[in-house]
């Protein structure tokens, strides 16, 4: 197991090789690895700013190619530093290109229970995994434009429905201020930080403990939940459906229905 990080974390003890890189140099390291794997010449001088040596990266490149089945796990440190989504794209490209030599996959490390499910559901309904705008009636995908932090910091949105998250506790201050400034609706089993700055809070049953359904494990295996308690609160599924039905029953909604379309 090779661990790459900007500081020696407790995981370093479990690693066979620990490579400490300089902060913000993820993209450079990944790009140099891609060059080395293809046998392209890399100057030692180009490697120096990353905090590693050319020999260390050459060794890593050989190990990656020699693996029979390799997995590249990546965390949020990659997308939260300079380069953001481009860093994730470089990691995914590296894993894809390694398949010219061996079997290799990339897998994001997940903090929350069913983020993977969100990726899967958004993919099979809209073709994109996250940050999908349906504002024109068809799906558009553009991280940086339609990703939540960017939308909120720029103040693009004028209402937010928060389900199964607490951005009021974790997001940058300008994003939180925008949630406070515009009407926010929160669905959560508890009254959260976000609930306190929201216009509407609805208490829902806790997923997996009192709400049944399906969740995806990090490696995209779907698992059925086995709830043990009966909650006095409705499920998120029920509340979200009720909101949509309320809008549709009023004849509201964004998309034109066949009744509204007139063909001359």
């Amino acid at each position: 197991m090779v661990l790459v990080d900007i500081r020696e974390t407790p995981s370093a003890k479990a690693a066979d090789i620990f490579l400490q890189i300089r902060p913000g140099k993820d993209f450079e390291v990944l790009t140099i690895l891609r060059a080395l794997i293809k046998g392209q010449a890399v100057e030692a001088e180009a490697v120096r700013p990353t905090g590693l040596t050319l020999e260390q990266l050459q060794d890593l490149a050989q190990r990656l190619k020699k693996a029979r089945f390799g997995v590249l796990f990546f965390g949020m440190g990659l997308s939260m530093t300079r380069g953001k989504h481009m860093n994730s794209a470089a990691a995914l490209t590296l894993a894809a290109e390694l398949n010219a030599f061996t079997k290799f996959v990339a897998m994001p490390m997940r903090g929350h229970g069913n983020v993977t499910g969100a990726d899967v559901v958004l993919r099979y309904t809209t073709a994109y995994p996250f940050g999908v705008s349906l504002s024109r009636g068809y799906p558009r995908f553009n991280p940086g434009e339609f990703s939540t932090v960017d939308l909120l910091v720029r103040g693009d949105t004028d209402a937010t429905l928060v389900v199964g998250a607490d951005p009021g506790a974790t997001m940058p201050q300008p994003a939180i201020e925008h949630l406070r400034r515009t009407p926010t609706i929160v669905l959560d089993p508890k009254v959260t930080h976000t609930s306190r700055l929201a216009k509407v809070h609805i208490t829902t049953a806790a997923t997996g403990i009192s709400a049944p359904g399906t969740v995806y494990r990090m490696d995209e295996i779907p698992l059925p939940l086995r709830p043990i308690l009966h909650s006095p609160y409705p499920t998120d599924e029920h509340v979200i459906r009720s909101i949509r039905q309320t809008i549709q029953n009023r004849g509201g909604g964004f998309l034109p229905t066949p009744d509204h379309l007139q063909i001359a």
Binding site: F130, R241, T246
Partner: protein, 115 residues
């Protein structure tokens, strides 16, 4: 008190989604977890079947579920660019409903993946 045991319960605290947990509950709360890690045990014991919070809040004041749903529907319908965010601690069935709602109101839909 009605005692119940669930075998092979699924823990949704983190992305590992362990599916071999044994849970014991007394109808109100989970009293024992087997094979759960520290984080999983805390997650299971933290959520109870008690009514600890109001059904809904509007502007910080207690409201009924129906009022809150009507208010939420009006906010989302009126908005020019609503955002649906999170989706990480809910079921896939609820996520599908969220996509349908996003399509109905012309929203941006996004999860923790974008962070």
């Amino acid at each position: 008190m009605e005692l119940s045991v669930v075998q092979n319960a699924v823990c949704t605290f983190c992305g590992c989604v362990c599916d071999d947990i044994e849970l014991h509950a007394d109808g109100q709360r989970i009293v024992e977890t087997k094979r759960a890690c520290i984080l999983g045990e805390a997650w299971f014991k933290h959520h109870t079947a008690e009514r600890l919070y109001p059904a809904a809040l509007i502007d910080g004041r207690e409201a009924s579920l129906e009022e809150a749903i009507a208010c939420a529907a009006e906010i989302l319908e009126r908005a020019d660019l609503p955002l649906i965010y999170g989706l990480s601690n809910i079921t896939c069935e609820a996520q599908r409903e969220a996509v349908w709602l996003a399509e109905t109101v012309g929203a941006v839909i996004d999860s923790h993946t974008s962070l």
